[in-house]
């Protein structure tokens, strides 16, 4: 220990004898300290939210950063990979100077119509086949053969029969949605435990009551798997349908951007497709969690 240190120690001992624990400090430093504390307290909820969601958003934000850096540093030619800013400008241009909203609306209407058509038919057929082996056997062969032909393969025929119309595209989407909903409904109903059916029979439930209070609630988790999968398929199918034969819609925008080499527009449409698909799934999951709140599954 140096002489200087010993001197310091000695000074400390003599200088702060009364209140050794209370830190007074420089008047200015104290002010800054409290100002920083207050500022931190104000943004605390924001920080907590960031921390809460950081794992969900770390990868997308990282990809966005890498994208920006790669264009800033000219790693890739802009015609192959335009920067995020260019894409944002293109989005604004499409929205204000062109008919992005009209195209979006066209796609959305087709999806909603097609999804409703496929989901309702899938649900009804699934319930029918689930409740009766005769119905299942009667429809089984036909449906299984139909299922093997992908939605897109029907498009030329549909166009020949009814033209490139809203209806043709909706039918195609409906076909895509039908099978996951049908199969999951059927499987969900067949998986209902016999134990619950026995309880209902003891209380003399008729078919309608049994379906409403026992079979459908029990099959609901499985039905929702079908609906969510079907919603994803519907959104994917509408894009492809529009790419192949349409003068309107997000799929049409993709084809047009490709032909005119407007790479930024391609990105705009791709981001919209991804974001909307994501939001639809989030919404469906919210509904599902609400309907299935009785279910206590593995928390993860």
């Amino acid at each position: 220990m140096s002489a200087e240190n010993i001197q310091l120690l000695a000074r400390n001992v003599s200088a702060v004898p009364a209140k050794p624990k209370e830190y007074v400090g420089h008047p200015n430093t104290a002010g800054y300290y409290w100002r920083i504390r207050r500022a931190l307290a104000k943004i605390k909820p924001v920080l907590a939210l960031l921390k809460d969601k950081s794992l969900d958003w770390a990868l997308p934000v990282g990809i966005l950063l890498l994208w920006e850096i790669s264009t800033q540093l000219h790693w890739v030619k802009p015609v192959f990979l335009p920067g995020p800013r260019e894409v944002a400008e293109s989005f604004y241009d499409l929205l204000v100077n062109q008919d992005l909203l009209l195209d979006f609306r066209a796609s959305a209407i087709e999806v909603v119509l097609g999804f409703s058509l496929g989901a309702v038919l899938g649900l009804l057929t699934g319930i029918g086949a689930g409740l009766s082996h005769s119905v299942e056997r009667f429809l089984g062969t036909t449906l299984n053969a139909f299922r093997q032909v992908p939605p897109l393969a029907w498009l030329p025929l549909l166009v020949l029969w009814i033209g490139i119309s809203l209806f043709a595209k909706s039918v195609m989407i409906g076909k895509a949605v039908f099978f996951p909903v049908f199969l999951n409904t059927l499987q969900g109903i067949r998986g209902v435990s016999k134990k619950y059916i026995e309880v209902a029979s003891i209380f003399e439930y008729n078919q309608a009551l049994l379906l409403r209070r026992v079979i459908l609630p029990a099959a609901l988790p499985s039905i929702f798997v079908g609906l969510r999968y079907g919603a994803g398929l519907a959104w994917a199918t509408v894009i492809v349908a529009e790419m192949l034969g349409s003068r309107v819609g997000l799929g049409f925008l993709l084809t047009r951007a490709q032909e005119m080499l407007l790479t930024a527009q391609l990105f705009v449409v791709i981001v919209i497709i991804g974001a909307v698909g994501y939001l639809v799934d989030v919404a469906l999951r919210k509904i599902e969690n609400n309907l299935l709140r009785w279910k206590k599954g593995f928390a993860g």
Binding site: Y196, I202, P217, W294, K296
Partner: protein, 260 residues
């Protein structure tokens, strides 16, 4: 006690055979049984002796049997509201709350009557506070009590209990015994319980029916003329328990011999 000597449940020459692909197993053979109205009867036997099958046939959940079963002089045809069943698992519907489960058998009644009955039976089994909970949120003992309320709410002529407390721990089980006894004294329902717990049978029953193993036959009927509530360590209680256990061991002599 005008109806205490009336026959509630009458089983005559009941035989049940399960046919599988390769072999036919006779689960029950020539079972004759009379249970008086308002009586608490237990059927005791080793696992696989057909006691659960017997109960399921009375409940109307099994068909394809020979012989006749009458409840209050009427042939049993399939399951019905006047034959309540408590299963070993509570079988509450997981998507309904406790009060909705208790009211499960009351769908045809007007809403006000339903609400009143559900409330009364929830209070009877001490679950008023948990009316809005889901089955996954309550304990096994509470769920089984809810199942008892669900079965009683329709005022069944007979309550059939299939090892109702088998899945509960020893302490909870003893609580449930006294609660069930209290309910039985209040409601005066005829109860038939299947169990392999001899003490449970002696504690709760007016009469214990001992079954033999494969094919299931009625081996012996032992009355339990003890005052209630019963003391599990009273010499008379222990004597009946010992008598039953001895029968059990006599029965099981050949089951536990192995050929190597």
């Amino acid at each position: 006690m005008s109806n205490s000597h009336q026959i509630g449940l009458e089983i005559n020459r009941l035989t049940k055979t399960f046919n599988t692909d390769r072999l036919a197993v006779t689960a029950l053979e020539n079972v004759d049984l009379k249970i008086r109205k308002g009586q608490f009867a237990s059927i005791v036997g080793t696992s696989g002796c057909g006691k659960t099958t017997l109960l399921r046939i009375v409940a109307g959940l099994e068909n394809d049997f020979d012989g006749s079963i009458e409840l209050d002089g009427k042939d049993i045809k399939g399951p019905s509201k006047d034959k309540g069943v408590i299963f070993q698992e509570h079988r509450l519907l997981p998507w309904l709350t406790i009060e909705e489960n208790v009211g499960f058998g009351l769908v045809s009644r007007p809403a006000a009557e339903r609400r009143e009955l559900v409330e009364r039976y929830l209070a009877l089994v001490g679950l008023k506070k948990f009316a809005k909970a889901y089955p996954a949120q309550i304990s096994g003992g509470m769920a089984q009590r809810a199942a008892i309320a669900r079965a009683l709410v329709n005022k069944p002529k007979i309550l059939l209990l299939d090892e109702p407390f088998g899945a509960l721990d020893a302490i909870t089980r003893m609580h449930m015994h006294s609660e069930l006894e209290k309910i039985w004294l209040d409601e005066k329902t005829t109860m038939v319980m299947v169990t392999h717990d001899v003490e449970e049978a002696v504690y709760l029953s007016d009469v214990v029916i001992l079954m033999s193993h494969r094919p299931g036959r009625i081996k012996k009927i032992i009355p339990v003329p003890l005052a209630r509530p019963r003391n599990r360590s009273h010499p008379d209680f222990l004597a009946i328990k010992r008598e039953l256990l001895e029968e059990f061991h006599l029965n099981n002599k050949d089951i536990f011999t192995y050929e190597i």
